[in-house]
Amino acid sequence: MNWIAKLFNGGPKAPPIVLTPVQQEAIAAWRKTPAPDLTRSHYRSRYVVVDVEASGLNMKKDRLISIGALAVVDGVIDFSDAFEVVLRQDVVSTHENILIHGIGGSAQSEGVDPPDALIAFLQYLGKSPLVAYHALFDQSMIERALKEYLGCDLGQTWIDLAWVMPDLFRDLINAQVGLDDWLKLFDIENILRHNAVSDAYATAKLLQVALARGMQRGAETPNSFVELERARRWMRRAS
């Protein structure tokens, strides 16, 4: 009955989570941050656009290497409100993987201690809704890391532009496509492909396009984007 033990004890390998008092305090403070009102206009909201780099594409096994994030506040990108962190890796990712995101072996092993890195991210994020393209991957990687290192749940709203965009722009692309297709369509340049910050920057510009379109289509709040995504996912599943 080994698998039952695993299920109930969180697995034999999982080390116990030990956090310093300072770390615990920081997490508690983040928990107390009031949640924003998601029924306010896009242009009175703060979105955090994220992109992660990992050691591979397996959401269950691969490790989170870096988080890049950018805020869209009141519809505008503020470059000083941006975030990037590399999580220290005890085992450096494969050579092929490094070639993709360009975070080399030494950068990985010199990264920030994972609990501190994640706490810094939480402090940057606050309770803002998160936005990503193909958000499931970013969400899984971040939430799994939070669980593993901090023992905490995010429980925050995620918006996936891969679903929102084709709904807002049915006249242009009414299908699930890659990020690059949208970037090309709106002539958005990606300064450094597969760099978490650069990808987040391009995604943030795409969000700006979506916000403006949303305002024209009556989807004027973060919540309305969540609704829109949910409806479309349901429609797709039903058909």
Partner: protein, 636 residues
């Protein structure tokens, strides 16, 4: 940690800004400050970015992607004519933010637009931090023009230097056959030859004609007189042995370098066999530096025949190019070309007067069109005529015949000297244009009273007349009577205005420029028809209305500004615009002719650099301003 992310984004912003003026020249710290304080906004197509109704402009915008249409709001009813398109790298509204007032323009996204935003407070800080930005804002147009002129200067300075001095082979510099002596020639003989031939240096050669020594004038004192050497000693005892030689195929640059490196003033050019072919002195290299203005004038004034004048007219062209290279403005260059062409024409007239007896006739040679306006470019044909006085006791036909014969010879000589005969027969040898003062007055009067299309066209050529030779007072009398007629005839001027307004500046609404006016030359703009002429035509009407007798466009604009209550800085901006277009025409014609083509005025905006395109846009906007003034004044 978040610093890394911000740094990446800020440096990406800097990289973008650096591709556009004035940010490309901005101080690094100021650029860093700017990039750190910018935010990025998005406006979908047709969204309003900024309008006068939004109140005091508190944000400065720099376009990152897409285009914005700026449209003047209110004031003038003809909205269509007061719009312009802004593209990536362009900032707005400079004036309104600086003055902290509502924008006078409405800015609307023509496409999906990403644009950087800078808060007014940071805008002012940037103006303090950056002299470049400050200058850019306060001297918006002027600073752009300056930059362009400097670029032009560099570009031409290189070409001029390459072409004329440093690349010329020694063979082309060495004109005279060298004078040489053998090593055993007595000193006395050598000095005698030098004195008789005004020779500065004597080369000593062996039997194989290979140079073995050099003896110069300055050696006479130091090596002969002071040491008291006997004059019958052989020259080889006092010469400088082993003179510096260069193959005759090397160029002026090599010679200059050798002189500088070895501290010598003469270099000997030798052929493959080492035989002496010529002497190049320091002075030879300096005279290469160019024919001067004074020299050309002298050549023209003393020329006895057409060959010399033809040479002079080529020198005029060469000198104008040098002036272009030195960064002299278009106004001065065109005036300069006109002035030298005047001198040339006068000399041709003088030479022909020796063969024609015009004694007893009061007459003046007139020039029309661009020459009449002192605005000649490199490509120019003849536009001239004659005015004379026919008294009661003279036979009109006989007098005209004498003048026509004379004019025919002058026209042909001008043709030989590089001023092609006029296709439209606007020449003094045309009986229609060799007229008495009364006939000219009647001709002008007829055009003014019956302003049909041909008459209006004629007015644009002939009303810019200017006397070149003879009795200048005849031309002045004609000018006074012309102004008397046009000043009081509003209908005629209104027709002129209508004619002038039939061509608009080629500013596109979506694209920067309209470049398809000429189906045979797609992608080009005729800068004469759609550029210079817009200014020239408007200035002429202002001059005719306000009693200004000048024919030069810049002069006309300056002199009519007073009676028209036009602010000095506005007039200055218009003149800058006109001069920039003239500069582009000059440059284009020069390049075309250099490549063996006829110098036309069809310039490709795509081939201009970004800065020049922007100035050109600004110049066209100035032309539009002039046209708006015409519209208001004449209600057309």
């Amino acid at each position: 940690m978040s610093n890394n992310a911000t740094q990446l984004l800020v440096s990406a912003t800097i990289e973008f800004l650096r591709r556009h003026p004035p940010f490309d020249r901005m101080e690094p710290e100021a650029l860093q400050f700017l990039a750190e304080h910018l935010k990025l906004a998005y406006y979908p197509k047709e969204a309003q970015v900024l309008t006068p109704e939004m109140g005091v402009a508190r944000t400065f915008y720099i376009l990152q992607r897409g285009k914005v249409l700026a449209r003047q709001a209110g004031e003038i009813s003809v909205v269509e004519y007061s719009s312009m398109t802004l593209g990536p790298g362009e900032g707005f509204p400079i004036g309104s933010v600086t003055a902290q007032r509502p924008s006078t323009n409405a800015y609307v996204a023509l496409e999906d637009v990403f644009c950087y935003e800078l808060q007014a407070d940071d805008f002012f800080k940037l103006m303090q931090k950056s002299t470049v930005f400050n200058l850019f804002c306060t001297q918006y147009i002027a600073s752009l023009l300056n930059q362009s002129r400097q670029q032009l200067q560099v570009q031409f300075a290189q070409r001029a230097a390459e072409q004329q001095t440093m690349n010329s082979p020694l063979a082309s510099i060495v004109k005279k056959a060298p004078i040489s002596v053998s090593p055993d020639t007595p000193i006395r003989k050598v000095v005698e030859v030098m004195a008789a031939g005004h020779i500065g240096s004597m080369i000593v050669v062996d039997e194989a004609e290979q140079p073995v020594g050099i003896f110069t004038q300055s050696d006479v004192l130091k090596r002969i007189v002071l040491p008291g050497i006997a004059l019958d000693a052989p020259i080889q005892s006092v010469m400088s042995p082993a003179p510096h030689t260069l193959p005759i195929s090397s160029n002026a640059y090599d010679a200059a370098l050798a002189m500088a490196m070895h501290g010598i003033r003469h270099v000997l050019a030798v052929d493959e066999g080492g035989r002496l072919k010529g002497v190049v002195s320091e002075r030879d290299l300096f005279t290469l530096q160019r024919v001067g203005l004074r020299q050309i004038r002298q050549t023209i004034d003393t020329a006895a025949n057409l060959d010399q004048l033809l040479q002079a007219s080529q020198d005029v062209r060469q000198l104008s190019l040098n002036m272009l290279a030195q960064g002299v403005g278009a106004e001065q260059i065109t005036q300069f070309i006109s002035a030298l062409n005047d001198t040339l024409t006068r000399r041709i007239i003088q030479i022909n007067l020796e063969n024609h007896d015009l004694y007893g006739i009061e007459w003046a040679w007139l020039s029309f069109g661009s020459e009449g306006r002192d605005e000649q470019t490199f490509s120019t044909d003849q536009d001239n005529g004659i005015v004379y006085v026919c008294t009661d006791i003279m036979d009109r036909e006989q007098t005209q015949l004498r003048l026509l014969e004379f004019a025919r010879d002058v026209n042909h000589d001008l043709d030989k000297c590089g001023f092609p005969l006029c296709q439209g027969k606007i020449m003094a040898s045309n009986p229609e244009l060799c007229l008495t003062i009364e006939e000219w007055e009647e001709k002008f009067g007829h055009w003014i009273r019956t302003p049909e299309p041909q008459a209006l066209l004629n007015a644009t050529i002939f009303f810019d007349f200017r006397p070149l030779f003879g009795q200048f007072n005849l031309a002045n009398r004609l000018r006074l009577s012309l102004l008397r007629q046009t000043r009081t005839n509003g209908v005629f001027r209104r027709m002129m205005a209508q004619n002038a307004l039939s061509v608009s500046p080629p500013l596109g609404k979506i694209r920067d420029f309209i470049t398809d006016a000429d189906p045979e030359r797609p992608g080009t703009i005729d800068l004469k028809k759609f550029g210079a002429r817009l200014f020239i035509d408007a200035a002429r009407i202002f001059a005719l209305a306000h009693n200004v007798s000048a024919t030069n466009t810049v002069q006309r604009l300056k002199l009519s500004a007073g009676p028209m209550n036009a602010p000095a800085d506005e007039v200055a901006a218009i003149i800058e615009g006109f001069n920039f277009i003239q500069l582009l025409r000059l440059r284009h014609q020069h390049f075309e002719q250099e490549h063996g083509r006829e110098g036309d005025n069809s310039v490709r905006p795509d081939e201009l650099n970004e800065l020049e395109r922007r100035i050109l846009k600004e110049a066209f906007r100035q032309a539009r301003k002039l046209q708006q003034r015409l519209k208001l004044d004449y209600q057309v």
